[in-house]
Symmetry: C2
Subunit: 215 residues, 2 copies
DNA sequence: ATTATCTATAGATCTATAGATAATGC
DNA sequence: ATTATCTATAGATCTATAGATAATGC
């Protein structure tokens, strides 16, 4: 992962780029789109207007980078947290429980993933391939049963996204209980026996440390 | 529903309004947003530029009207088609099978519902309250079991939307089989026994006639 | 000396309105 | 005569770039 240690100049450039990406995430999370002027973006990022064009040639390009950053940051974090778990059904369920909780623990990232043009579903990197791999392992291990893995993956992503929207729109609901209820639904969908599904969604979550800053 | 028969002038006004709404749906379905100039919208609608402001005071207002129209039109059609079915589990499953098929039968409406800021999920009118009512009936009839109806509704909407996205993105898949597979997943989620769930998603669909034109 | 950031601005939109034209109602 | 649509345009953005300034590397 780490190549040449970046020079001071390279670090400065990266800081500007990160500031722009974070500003875009902030605005996107708040408003659901990037229909603001580039000037407003650079002001939010506290960066000179012209610097925008040193890094991106359009708002769409910045948006893509912002979504990709959120996806990658979250997937890497999940991978790290779950490295010690063996049972594929548990890996799957715990990933989903932790991802749902993002709306509480890292709302900016969560809202970017939610609004990100369904990126959570369809992206060829980030969370989707991880979830697919977990589902396949669970099927091979005889813990999950399903007819069509593509459809199952879509349903999982859809349940997760819709539940996160629900939590976001209705803050009086306790996020954790709602998310775990959705994960229970998904396990039942995969044919996991009721008692076993309830055990899995009540497992203690790994002690997690949010990454202080995403790259 | 029908008040005074609208005068010729009122019909003309409505025609202009409909042309704008349909143009917005067309553009929204194609691009996923309305980031085009009002001029492009009026040109698509084949309407004078200034007429826009006779009907809407901003693009956002037009977008709201376009999404609402799609939701209402679809909900009314479903209600009509399903009026003869008794078993609440069948009503629910058939609604979902027909809605999923929209991506094939009425792609413009389908894409508006998909992109409509999650309108299919959260709107207090249109499809969501129908689905809730159907689920509640099925629970009362002892056909569905679930812990939390809010979460269940979110999962249903999420599965449906994600599956429709899948069909839209991957045209080589046969829409009908994919949608029915997703509905099967949802029935299993609700604790319907496997054989019974498979019977329900294999039922013949009511002979449907698409509405020639939505109001 | 090189490279990135910042400031200022020209040119290209885009919005909202005002006034002219066309269609309807009586 | 009334009401809706259409055409033309003023004023307000907004984008992209050019040139100036500041930071880094040697």
């Amino acid at each position: 992962m780490s190549e040449q240690p970046p020079s001071r100049g390279e670090r400065r450039k990266l800081r500007t780029r990160s500031a722009l990406i974070e500003a875009a995430q902030e605005i996107y999370a708040e408003r659901g789109d990037l229909e603001v002027s580039i000037q407003q973006i650079t002001e939010t990022a506290d960066v000179g207007f012209g610097s925008f064009y040193n890094h991106f040639s359009s708002k769409a390009e910045l948006l893509d980078a912002a979504v990709a950053q959120a996806l990658e940051s979250h997937a890497a974090w999940l991978d790290n947290v779950l490295s010690g778990v063996d049972d594929p059904a548990e890996v799957f369920a715990t990933s989903m429980r932790l991802t749902g909780r993002l709306i509480r623990t890292r709302p900016r990232i969560a809202r970017v993933l939610l609004s990100g043009r369904g990126a959570l579903l369809t992206a060829s990197y980030g969370h989707a391939p991880h979830a697919r791999r977990d589902i396949e392992s669970a099927i091979d291990a005889g813990r999950f049963v399903t007819d069509d893995i593509e459809v199952a993956l879509a349903c999982v992503a859809g349940c997760l996204i819709a539940t996160m929207h629900l939590c976001d729109a209705d803050p009086k609901a306790t996020v954790d209980a709602v998310v775990d209820s959705a994960v229970l639904n998904v396990l039942l969908m995969f044919g996991v026996p009721n008692a076993e599904a309830r055990r899995i969604v009540a497992l203690p979550l790994p002690a997690v440390e949010q990454p202080a800053r995403a790259t």
